[in-house]
Symmetry: C2
Subunit: 187 residues, 2 copies
DNA sequence: AATTAATCTAAACGATAGGTTAGAAATAAT
DNA sequence: ATTATTTCTAACCTATCGTTTAGATTAATT
C-alpha cells in the first residue's frame, strides 16, 4: 500500500557524513543537510530520528570507509613499517583535492566536551581502542627491533596518529611528512 | 561628569578567556559570558564591540599568560632539552585540577574553518610562527648533536606540539608522557 | 475505482543565538 | 541643586537553531 521512498538511506548518509566531516557537528545545520542530502527535513527525521542520530550513522559510515585503510594495515606483515604506511595512507584518505579534512572521529573528539551524547563518545573511544590494539599487534609482530615496552610504544603511536589527524587540517604537506618521518625515526 | 565603570576590562577578559578556553568559541554563548564575566551584555558590547572582538582580546590574554612559559623556553640554554621541558610545562599550564583544557590557540585552529574571521586566523598563525622560530633557535643552539636539517626538526616539533595540545584534552597523563618521551627519543 | 498507508512539501513551533535600545541610576562639574 | 555625561538594567529585536505537524501526493491493495 505505501508510497515508495524516493531516496536510499545509505546514499544520503554518505552525503551527510561528508558535510559533518568538513564542517563539524555544531557548525552543520539541518538546513545545510537538507540541501546536501537532497531530501527534506521530514525525511531526515523519519529516517534518522534526530541530528544526533544522523551524526551517529555518519560516524558509522565514516568508519566503514576508513576500514579499507585499516584492513591494509591489519594485513601488513612488516611491523612498524606497516604503521608508518598507515600514517601516509591516512593523509591520502583524508585529502580531497587540495583540502584536507582530517579525521571525522578526531575532529569530533576535538569539538565535543566530556558531557556530550554518550553514544557518540562511545563510538569515538571504541574507534580509538581498535586502532591502538592494531598498533600494539604490529609492534609486537615486528622482529627487527627489540622493544622493551610495547604498550608504551602503542600509546606513543596512537597519540601521534591523533595529533596527525588534527594537524593535517592546519599544516602543509611538507610539514606533515617531516612529522611522520621523525615520528618513525626513533623506533 | 561620567559615572565610573564598575568593572575592570582586564579582569573580565580573563574570565571570558577561561570560558572560551574550556568550551570553544561557538559553544560559548553571550548569556554564558554575561554570567561568568559578571557584567551585562551592554557592557560587553560597549567594551569589546562584538563576540569576535571579545574573543580576539581573549586570545591576546591567553598569549600573555602563556608567555611566561615561552619566556622560560627562550631563556633555556640546553637546546632540545629546553624544548622537551616546554612540552611538560605546557601540560602543567593547561591543566586545571583534573581537567585539561588544551591550548586555546590550538583548540581554535581545530574549531574554525579557513573562512573564519581573518584577524582571528592571523592571531593563530602569528603564534604558530613565533613558537616555530623559538624551536628553530633552540635546535640550532644545541651542540650535543649534529642536526642536518634544523628546519625539518622545527616542523617536526611544531606539529608534535600542536598534536600534544589537541591530544591533552583526550588522553591520559600517562599516555601523554609516553608520547613526549618518545618524541624526544629520536633526536 | 475506492481505500489505505506511507512519503512528501511546506509552514510553523518554541527556544535560543548574537546584537540593540530606551530609560533609570550614578557621578562629576557647574 | 542642577546639569551633563556616562554606565547600567532589562526588555526587545531579528535570525536561525533543531524539531514537529497538517495536508497534499503517491502508489499498492481491495
Amino acid at each position: 500500500m505505501p508510497r515508495k521512498k524516493s531516496y536510499n538511506e545509505d546514499e544520503v548518509i554518505e552525503k551527510a557524513m561528508e558535510v559533518f566531516w568538513k564542517n563539524g557537528f555544531e557548525m552543520t545545520s539541518m538546513q545545510q543537510l537538507e540541501k546536501e542530502m537532497g531530501i527534506n527535513k521530514f525525511s531526515i527525521y523519519a529516517s534518522f530520528g534526530s541530528k544526533e542520530g544522523l551524526f551517529l550513522r555518519s560516524i558509522q559510515c565514516y568508519k566503514e570507509k576508513l576500514q579499507k585503510v585499516v584492513e591494509k594495515l591489519r594485513r601488513s606483515t612488516d611491523g612498524i613499517e606497516g604503521i608508518k604506511a598507515y600514517f601516509y595512507d591516512f593523509i591520502t584518505f583524508s585529502k580531497e583535492h587540495e583540502m584536507v579534512k582530517g579525521c571525522l572521529v578526531t575532529n569530533t573528539a576535538n569539538e565535543l566536551r566530556a558531557d556530550a551524547n554518550p553514544e557518540i563518545l562511545a563510538a569515538l573511544s571504541d574507534f580509538t581502542s581498535e586502532i591502538r590494539s592494531v598498533f600494539l599487534e604490529k609492534i609486537q609482530q615486528d622482529s627487527n627491533l627489540k622493544i622493551d615496552d610495547p604498550e608504551e610504544k602503542a600509546d606513543y603511536l596512537l597519540v601521534a596518529m591523533f595529533g596527525l589527524s588534527s594537524a593535517s587540517r592546519v599544516f602543509t604537506q611538507k610539514q606533515l611528512h617531516h612529522y611522520i618521518e621523525n615520528i618513525f625515526n626513533n623506533l
